[in-house]
Amino acid sequence: MRFLELAKRNLKESFLDPLSLGLTIALPIGLFFILQTLGRIEDLFKPTMLAPGIVLFGFVMIVFSSGFLLARDRESSLLARMLTAPLRPSDFIAAYALPFIPIGIIQVAAIYGIGSFLGLRISGNVGLVMLILFVMCCGYIGIGMILGSLVSTRQLGFTYMIVLFPTIFSGAWMPVDMMGEGFNRVVHCLPFAHALDATRAIMIDGAGFSDIATNFLWVLGYSVAFLALGVLSFKRRMLE
């Protein structure tokens, strides 16, 4: 369990860094508050419809925060220092991935908690919603690891947009149908639209697992792939 000290440090660094804290916690909550006020004129902005999209937006901020931490540790040689400690590759992967799960949990709890006071309702199984969001969160952490291993802190400022735009345009807070059939097909080749479709179906229509199984498989498959690629990129960086 030697990785625990590095994991604790990574969690502490993220919470003590105002930029990271602002992006991962304050920004999604603020955005949720602002956008849900439009719920009176447009159904898409009602808390129940909006919450999954805001949570995914929060996960994009995790990509930035986790990628930034890893890239900064690479650039400052702290990672090199830690790589000379008798830790195994799996220790490093756990230490740079696990601290962002509690951040994801805080995001989900905050958005759904606040949402419940604003009229958010879950008709279906809450656990199933959380499962989909958890799997998606792991996928985003994987993307953070890929970016953090490959790009510099300066490049990260724009490279994380390759995740931000597909997430927003997958229907986070704008209807995908409006963009046309072709666009709809494209975004459904990525996991974000499937995660949103599945969580909304459970929350609004009370859909069960069998109804959203296909969506779930898309989310799971992509998350496993992102995590695997994250691990590979990190390992490649570890021993050049």
């Binding site: 003590l16 400052s76 040689s77 400690a85 008798p86 021993l239």
Partner: protein, 314 residues
């Protein structure tokens, strides 16, 4: 001495270790044998291959060819065993900037598998030794460059490694902080094997037991500072500042030492063997007042120049 004892007396051994980056041969067949307890310095300009050598020895880079052992453990076959007994202070300070000094020391100590109480005790000793105790609870991002360097070395010492790698430990420090850092390194000297890279001549000269001068990936020459200097000049140069020197006296001096040059305020005598008393006994009866004598020695810069055709100083 038994074979085992002989083997264990060697802390670091490299055999033809090389590293190639695309077309660049950054380290070219380096052979080193470093004894336990020795402070060994790799001296050379930027890009000489010093950091790449250290990275290979710390298991951060795979050698393209060759082998190396640290305390008998092969760096490629048994990297985890190597990492148990080494630690490094990288060229960059490599600190966790939002944490305080205690937390930074805890991070490296605990990652090496030490008990919490042991880490705490060692951290206290190291913070006192490095003069950081007063500021130990502040976030390290508020530390000065010198303080960060000292903490970086403390972080490398907290695991009590048998072999310590210091990569440019005084890079970017002002002369005063550099001198203070030398004192700290001198405190460590002898208690563990230290490999130090530097491009500061004075640093290698004053700290190292032995120096390997590195250039373009190769070890150019290796030895103690004195051996390196002696190796390039068979002749000694004595500068004598004196009053009352006449051409006649200089000519007579040349009969004993053929290479006598008149310089401002005196003479410089060059010879394979110089006898200071003989020179004084020659000058004084002739009414010459000797104000000072100075035996000029070759510097490490001269050694570098001699072996590479270039000056090390930037």
């Amino acid at each position: 001495m038994s074979d085992t004892m002989v083997e264990h007396a060697i802390a670091i051994q490299t055999s033809g270790i090389s590293r190639v980056f695309k077309k660049l041969r950054a380290v070219n067949s380096v052979n080193l044998t470093i004894q336990q307890g020795e402070l060994f310095s790799l001296l050379g300009p930027n890009g000489a291959g010093k950091t790449t050598t250290i990275k290979m020895l710390c298991c951060l880079l795979k050698p393209s060819s060759g082998t190396a052992t640290i305390m008998g453990h092969d760096i490629q076959k048994d990297p985890l065993a190597v990492k148990q007994i080494i630690d490094v202070s990288p060229q960059e300070t490599a600190l966790s900037e939002n944490l305080n000094a205690w937390e930074n020391l805890n991070l490296t100590g605990r990652s090496h598998g030490l008990e919490k109480s042991v880490v705490r005790q060692r951290s206290q000793e190291l913070l006192e030794m490095m003069g950081l105790m007063d500021r130990s609870k502040e976030r390290v991002k508020r530390f000065s460059g010198g303080m960060k360097r000292r903490l970086s070395i403390a972080m490398a010492l907290v695991s009590d490694p048998q072999v310590l790698f210091l990569d440019e430990p005084t890079l970017g420090l002002d002369p005063q902080s550099r001198a203070a850092m030398w004192e700290h390194i001198n405190q460590i000297k002898g208690s563990k094997t230290v490999m130090l890279t530097t491009h500061y001549l004075e640093e290698a000269d004053s700290l190292a037991d032995r120096i390997a001068i590195m250039d373009e990936g190769r070890i150019v020459v290796l030895g103690t500072s004195q051996e390196l200097k002696d190796g390039i000049s068979e002749q000694s140069v004595l500068r004598v500042e004196a009053e009352g020197l006449t051409n006649d006296v200089v000519e007579r001096l040349r009969e004993i030492y053929p290479e006598v040059t008149v310089v401002d305020g005196g003479v410089e005598i060059r010879a394979e063997k110089l006898d200071l008393y003989e020179i004084l006994d020659f000058l004084r009866p002739r009414g010459i007042v000797v104000r000072s004598t100075q035996l000029k020695q070759a510097s490490l810069d001269d050694v570098f120049l001699h072996h590479t055709g270039r000056e090390l100083r930037e």
